[in-house]
Symmetry: C2
Subunit: 527 residues, 2 copies
């Protein structure tokens, strides 16, 4: 099982995939040559560095087996896995540790924990894999009415496993705390798979995907967890919520869509029926080079609007393409098709026609996965480990994403690039911003930006916060969304409130008050 | 413009498509031979038959131009277009006429009307095309706390037209009161179309589609209006709600999904950005016969799970196939593919392989639309006119639909067929129930049932209500949804409340109270 491997308590992913010293050294040389000198390198934190305030609340005898005050549990549940989380750990700052960490093993445990928390005025932060990059699992209550409230991080990873598989309907009941690889391992004997691969796939859980509206790696089609959910079961502070297993329904507003994106504020998701796929048997992919970004945008748009439904339609700008080692100075569009049922060569051929009409030049031709797409996949999965190493090397290294219509794209991309370039110059004295397109739709796309810049000792977090603020302002001003698939958390709270329809914000608060009258669940998030 | 043709004030659709006397006579002979004698024929109602109580409220001078108390307006907005609505008109019963009918021509008019209604304690029933078949536009307040409250039907059809077209993003801003054909006529010069064809397409509006989560005629893919909405603007009693135009967003629960299916209870939808398609250039279709329903179900399921994405994958059981004149004694699966971009012959060929492996026998072969599929389309569009004629002829003639997983299908179909056959025998002394599949999904399907039975004079409505109650009970007991795409309205209110997660019901009521504190909007619906 994937979760038998040790996960880092302060950084991304598995300990055994942390960059070895020689790679860190190479990265440091590359960063210095590309970006200039960063802050002096900082060694990774150790548990000996950690000092936490004593818990302000203790476990009642009846729940003593479910609640931990161990240092490793508390510090490991203090932050998510954003750049600013890892950077704070490197700065030996653990600002809002949960007082206790709960490890329920059954739904009744969740009910008992919420009952106890309600009676004691303890805030509860639902926690899946903890891979949030938007402050979604952090017990920072400064912006709430009771900032000094004790907090419990409610870790659902012991509510794990595939409970039932419906082979006819191709769906499975999966407990919320199940990591991606564990669910797929259980489904493999049935020839089925979730085919849902967010970048955090190995380190995030089914419940977390639903709570944050995770985006899968498919560029088109039903790639968001929203579309893969057949029903959801959750424990709210005032009762259990369970929707019917239905392929579709027109009975009032969708109850599932109310929990999708609720970020732990309405209830603790305990299990869900997910739609499954057979494993692909047919694949075809190709990398396509473009000399200019405008042509590449047009090509990606026309492929998205063709109805061909590529599994991959990722566009890398010259900066990103170079980082991924797949091109030099040009844009690259990675096109891939896959099917469990029928050949996809004709679909790829038609897509290549479309992109060639936009001055795209197909690269290589190996019939399955080209080196370019394989190179990109490897870079994609390794990226967060590299980011962590960059923190230690004294650099700002983070990503942000949005979505907008194709019509809004030129102005948005220009505004974001200008704003970030300007703030990087001002705050970091240099740096670079690269862009890739992760998802395409008939009416728009999701641009995803990566920022790398030299940092100053002790200031990495505040430097990034300034960059992020400028980026979010540019995005919102140009009609984009504050997040396409990273979630809101605490990082995007202000932008989210500015973005949503004002009456919807009131409706959401009213719904929250009804379900969680004492405001136990993730206070301050989405409020 | 389509809406220049006269619409019936009591029955379905255009007056000029009402069945002529010779067709009614032929239908009567067919019904007598197939179902036995119905109630004595009743002539269609005329306005001279209508007597309504005087309005309990009058228009204030400032809004006099927007509010009508004309008989035709009031009686025409009394019911939707369900069998039970038309049957009540034939029985000369107009039970809950609105006191006034409002015809706003601008969003400010809507705001002014809601302000006035709030001040006077008048309930407001938003009304689009009025084609609801679930009592969604009827001012029946018996189940509310103030059953004698005056009511206004708020007809949005003067908020009409396409405001703006974004050709690059393939989306259009359409006012809520725009009928389907009018929107598509305005989009045609751009080579674009909504490609959203509910059976009511000619007689329903964009706002109504959104409020009721309308289902299009495509069997798979983004066919529900839910997936075609890019953003929505609505007037709530406490403020204007407008979401951003976004192809996708992970910023909290989707605000659009909260209005989708809200059935006029949260706000009056005034306009929406809708995703568009280019018109199809490539088509391929075929009818496939099956000797038994089980094999046909399996074939439809495997096509749905293949990822081929047929535009049409409609299954007609022997009763429905006979009614549509496309087969005799066998089941028929209608398969169709279409694309604006690429040939679809290979997709059809692969689908035919799949269904032949399930003992399906492809019929005919004309390369485009087979007679069977053309015959079915014609029957589909004519069906509601035939239903109205059946009312006059003294028969019960109505449809109901649901959705369930493939796994639940055998038991659900068996339970529904048994329950309806039994209640028809008991209540009508005979009759028939046919089934077709309108939409297929990888994990399930939408079965759609048509009931025809002899009626008794003056009892058509109560007879149908008994049949419907038995059907809904069977559906809910077998794990289905009370509605797949007809909506909840007043007809499905009890089933809906039984079906939804209990905490979600409370959340929805809380949201309603926040947005509409005086409970102006469609009281009793979804509450």
């Amino acid at each position: 099982m994937a979760n038998a491997r040790q996960r880092s308590w302060f950084g991304w992913g598995f300990v055994d995939e942390t960059l070895p010293p020689d790679e860190v050294e190479g990265l440091g040389s590359f960063a210095a040559a590309t970006l200039g000198a960063g802050a002096p390198p900082t060694p990774a934190p150790t548990l000996a560095d950690v000092v936490l305030a004593a818990p302000r609340v203790s476990a009642p005898p009846a729940l003593a087996g479910l609640l931990s005050e161990a240092l490793l549990d508390r510090v490991g549940h203090t932050y998510g896995k954003a750049f600013r989380d890892v950077a704070r750990a490197y700065e030996r700052r653990w600002e809002n540790p949960p007082d206790l960490v709960a490890f329920p093993t059954s739904e009744q445990d969740v009910i008992d924990l919420l009952d106890w928390a309600g009676g004691r005025g303890v805030a509860v932060i639902p926690y899946g894999g903890g891979s949030s990059v938007v402050g979604g699992v952090e017990a920072d209550l400064r912006d709430t009415t009771d900032p000094d409230r004790p907090t419990v991080s409610l870790d659902v990873t012991r509510l794990r496993g595939v409970v039932e598989v419906d082979e006819v309907s191709r769906a499975a009941l999966v407990r919320a705390g199940t990591y991606g690889p564990d669910a797929d391992a259980a489904l493999k004997p049935f020839g089925l798979s979730m085919r849902h691969y967010p970048q955090s796939y190995e380190h995030s859980t089914v419940g977390g995907w639903i709570a944050t509206r995770a985006g899968g790696h498919f560029a088109t089609g039903p790639t968001h967890i929203d579309d893969l959910v057949e029903s959801i079961r959750a424990v709210t502070p005032t009762g259990v919520w369970e929707s019917r297993r239905l392929p579709s329904s027109g009975a009032g507003p969708s109850p599932d869509r109310a929990l999708l994106g609720s970020e732990g504020t309405l209830g603790v998701i305990t299990q869900a029926w997910l739609r499954l796929h057979r494993r692909p048997q047919f694949r075809a992919s190709r990398a396509v080079a473009f000399d200019d970004l405008g042509s590449a945008f047009t090509a990606a748009r026309l492929v998205a609007q063709s109805g061909l439904g590529p599994a991959n339609c990722r566009l890398l700008d010259p900066v990103e393409a170079r980082s991924a080692g797949v091109a030099d100075g040009r844009c690259v569009l990675l096109l891939g098709f896959e099917s469990a049922d029928h050949p996809v060569d004709a679909a790829l051929a038609r897509a290549l026609q479309i992109v060639q009409d936009c001055a795209g030049r197909p690269q290589g031709d190996d019939g399955t996965r080209s080196d370019a797409t394989a190179g990109w996949r490897q870079a994609f999965l390794r990226a967060p480990y590299l980011r962590d190493a960059m923190v230690g090397l004294g650099y700002v290294a983070e990503t942000f994403e949005t979505a907008c219509t194709w019509g809004d794209l030129p102005a948005l991309h220009d505004a974001v690039t200008r704003a970030v370039t300007s703030v990087l110059h001002e705050v970091c004295g240099g740096g670079q911003v690269g862009m890739r397109v992760t998802h395409v739709y008939a009416d728009g796309l999701a641009p995803y930006y990566t920022v790398l810049a030299p940092g100053r000792a002790g200031s990495l977090v505040s430097m990034w916060d300034e960059v992020k603020a400028a980026a979010s302002q540019a995005i919102l001003g140009a009609g984009g969304t504050v997040t396409h698939h990273h979630g809101v958390g605490r990082v995007h709270a202000a932008g989210y409130r500015a973005q949503r329809p004002e009456p919807f914000g009131r409706a959401l608060r009213a719904a929250k008050s009804e379900l969680d009258p004492d405001g136990l669940l993730n206070p301050g998030v989405l409020s």
